[in-house]
């Protein structure tokens, strides 16, 4: 029989029991839909993390405090207070460190911020002017913190766009307005450009103040929470990491790098970690989706087996009229492929729609890869073949006389 006729006949016999057909298709729809949606979500979050990290700068090295050992007791990671302004100064001036272009010592802590009637809890970052170059920050209005403001411990602040909106509302120019950080009055001198993202890692939520002001007047600290370095080029990242690492080891009096009370990480490291985390996540989600696809496939097999039993006499008749084994297999296989293919199409559409909604709600990227669609289609057709084969074969192997006499 011709392929087009086989497909037509398949459709015809599937429409006989619409409810059952619908439910069988639903299993595949859910399976394929969840594969598409979940894999896309995983991909999108990976992409957004990557672009966020790339926007921070690929020449960037970050020194953060490690665990401090005092009297044989090792403290918590990041708890060390041994990273100091002098360390930053040493990196700037050391003759051994040849691969670092600029150094940005930073002190950051959370504080309550008030502007008029609005208040918010925000990350306050004490910085030097070099921060702009090292962290790739742009100022859209006003200006960034200057050297003279640094030396004078000026109470000036540069706001991230999200904080600016939280404190002053949309469309209000906050420049020259006053805000209060931990009770100290600051004058807003600039707004940074949005870098996207949200949460504690997004610079959009930061308030920048002069480092000296942050350390002495706001938080009374003598150490740094991080030092950001800009290497002279992407190619010397490892060398820069080593040069700075040994300098700091010597300064902090360690000979064994494993005892170091600081960590130097590059964006590359961070990227790798996060990519592997999101990768694991995507794999996990795909696994869940694959299980639902398997369940859908078993549903198809069940329906097809029922259909074969129900139509035993029809199979007998077809054989009496000259249908060969091949024709009977084709007939039933095509029916199950129609089921799974239809389920696949609807599943892809619903999966993409579901992902679109997710992207809208979470503000994540909406990217559907062609691969995932092609994969979903071939998997759904493959399931049709896989789970349709057994029932089709059962049907084809019936003896014509037994099939005809079947009650």
């Amino acid at each position: 029989m011709k392929f087009s006729k086989l497909v037509l006949n398949g459709f015809k016999s599937l429409t006989v029991n619409k409810m059952r057909t619908g439910l069988a298709v639903l299993g595949i729809v859910i399976g394929i839909g969840s594969v598409i949606a979940l894999v896309s979500m995983g991909e999108a979050s990976k992409l957004s993390v990557q672009s966020q990290i790339q926007s921070i700068g690929s020449n960037l090295l970050t020194i953060s405090p490690g665990a401090q050992t005092s009297g044989g007791v090792r403290g918590a990671q990041g708890g060390a207070t041994t990273l100091t302004n002098d360390d930053a100064e040493a990196i700037k001036t050391s003759a051994e460190v040849t691969t670092v272009k600029s150094v940005s010592p930073e002190y950051s802590s959370r504080a309550q911020v008030i502007a008029g009637r609005n208040n918010t809890n925000s990350q306050i970052v004490g910085v030097e002017p070099a921060y702009v170059d090292v962290r790739k920050i742009e100022v859209t209005a006003g200006s960034f913190i200057t050297d003279s403001q640094l030396t004078r411990n000026s109470k000036v602040a540069v706001l991230g766009p999200s904080v600016a909106e939280d404190l002053f509302g949309e469309g209000v120019n906050p420049i020259d307005q006053k805000i209060k950080i931990n009770g100290n009055e600051f004058q807003v001198i600039g707004i940074t450009k949005s870098k996207g993202g949200s949460g504690p890692t997004s610079t959009d939520d930061y308030i920048f103040v002069p480092l000296t002001t942050a350390q002495k007047q706001l938080f009374g600290a003598k150490h740094l929470t991080s030092i950001a370095l800009e290497a002279t080029s992407e190619n010397v990242m490892t060398r820069a990491q080593n040069q700075v690492g040994y300098l700091l080891l010597a300064r902090h009096g360690f000979s064994d790098p494993s005892e170091a009370d600081f960590r130097i990480s590059s964006q590359e490291d961070l990227l790798e970690t996060i990519t592997s985390v999101t990768g694991t996540f995507t794999t996990l989600l795909s696994g869940v989706a694959a299980i639902s696809l398997l369940v859908g496939g078993i549903g198809i097999m069940n329906i097809m087996l029922m259909s074969v039993t129900e139509r035993t006499r029809e199979i007998g008749l077809r054989k009496a009229l000259g249908a060969k084994k091949k024709s009977i297999i084709q007939q039933f296989l095509i029916e199950s492929i129609i089921l799974t293919f239809t389920g696949g199409v609807i599943g892809v559409v619903l999966g993409i729609a579901g992902f679109y909604v997710y992207a809208q709600v979470n503000g994540s990227q909406f990217v559907v890869t062609a691969e995932s669609v092609v994969l979903a289609f071939s998997v759904s057709v493959g399931i049709g073949i896989l789970f349709g084969w057994y029932p089709a074969n059962q049907a084809a192997n019936l003896q014509p006389i037994d099939a005809l006499k079947y009650e």
Binding site: A320, A323, P400, L404
Partner: protein, 240 residues
């Protein structure tokens, strides 16, 4: 004198069914020869083995022993697919329960054997129309079986049996499920087809249906009891 080659040549046919330890001999040592152009009725009560014989003649079942030549082919030696081919080209089945595909128009039912013979659509259309006209259903070609009377359904089935121009038409209790007036019509069609040269083998347990055939074979307990030509063939008339 010219001796025609038999279309059906069955010799020493036996069929034994086994259920557990019990053996049932459905046919024993049956030999029949049927020539081209004959109209044979095989009679017998239920359990006489006539259905078993019918299934073997229709290449739907295989005998336990004995040989069966159908139009020169030794059926025993054929594979499943070859048997399907034989059924498709050499045998036209007419069943008691019509066995039409539900929700499928009369003409599409008639086309079904041609689908398996991979005949082109245009030829299918032409031939199906032609045979449906021959059984007097040219005005009901697009009706589905549930819109047709029992007699009309059986005529569709006959059209389907005819469409491949088979060597024989095998009818298993063709009037068993239809009203007697319509049974008369079916017999009239068979006699007309026989007149046109078709070989017909019909199984029935009804005496007055068997009377329409030219030769009547009686089966009893799997053995042929009598095999004679019917001197007083009853002629069925088609009511216009």
């Amino acid at each position: 004198m010219h001796m025609p080659k038999p279309i059906i040549d069955v010799s020493h046919l036996s069929k034994i069914y086994k259920t557990g330890d019990i053996e049932v001999k459905a046919l024993s040592d049956v030999s029949i020869q049927i020539q081209e152009g004959e109209f044979v009725a095989i009679m017998g009560s239920s359990g006489s083995g006539k259905s078993t014989l019918m299934h073997i003649l229709g290449a739907l079942d295989k005998p336990t022993s004995g040989t069966y030549f159908l139009d020169g082919h030794n059926v025993e030696s054929l594979s499943d697919d070859d048997l399907a081919d034989i059924r498709n080209r050499k045998i036209g089945f007419v069943f008691q329960a019509f066995n039409l595909l539900a929700r499928t128009s009369a003409i599409d039912n008639v086309k079904l054997p041609m689908e398996y013979a991979e005949i082109s659509d245009s030829v299918q259309e032409k031939k199906a129309t032609e045979v449906l006209e021959r059984v007097g259903l040219s005005d009901r070609m697009d009706h589905t079986p549930n819109k047709l009377s029992g007699g009309q359904q059986q005529r569709v089935a006959i059209a389907r049996a005819l469409v491949m121009e088979p060597a024989i038409i095998l009818a298993d209790e063709p009037t068993g499920n239809i009203a007697s007036t319509q049974a008369e019509e079916v017999m009239a069609i068979f006699q007309e087809l026989n007149k046109q040269g078709h070989t017909i083998v019909m199984i029935t347990h009804e005496e007055d249906i068997a009377d329409h055939a030219k030769r009547v074979i009686h089966l009893f307990d799997g053995v042929i009891r009598s095999d004679k030509s019917n001197k007083k063939q009853k002629i069925a008339r088609l009511k216009s």
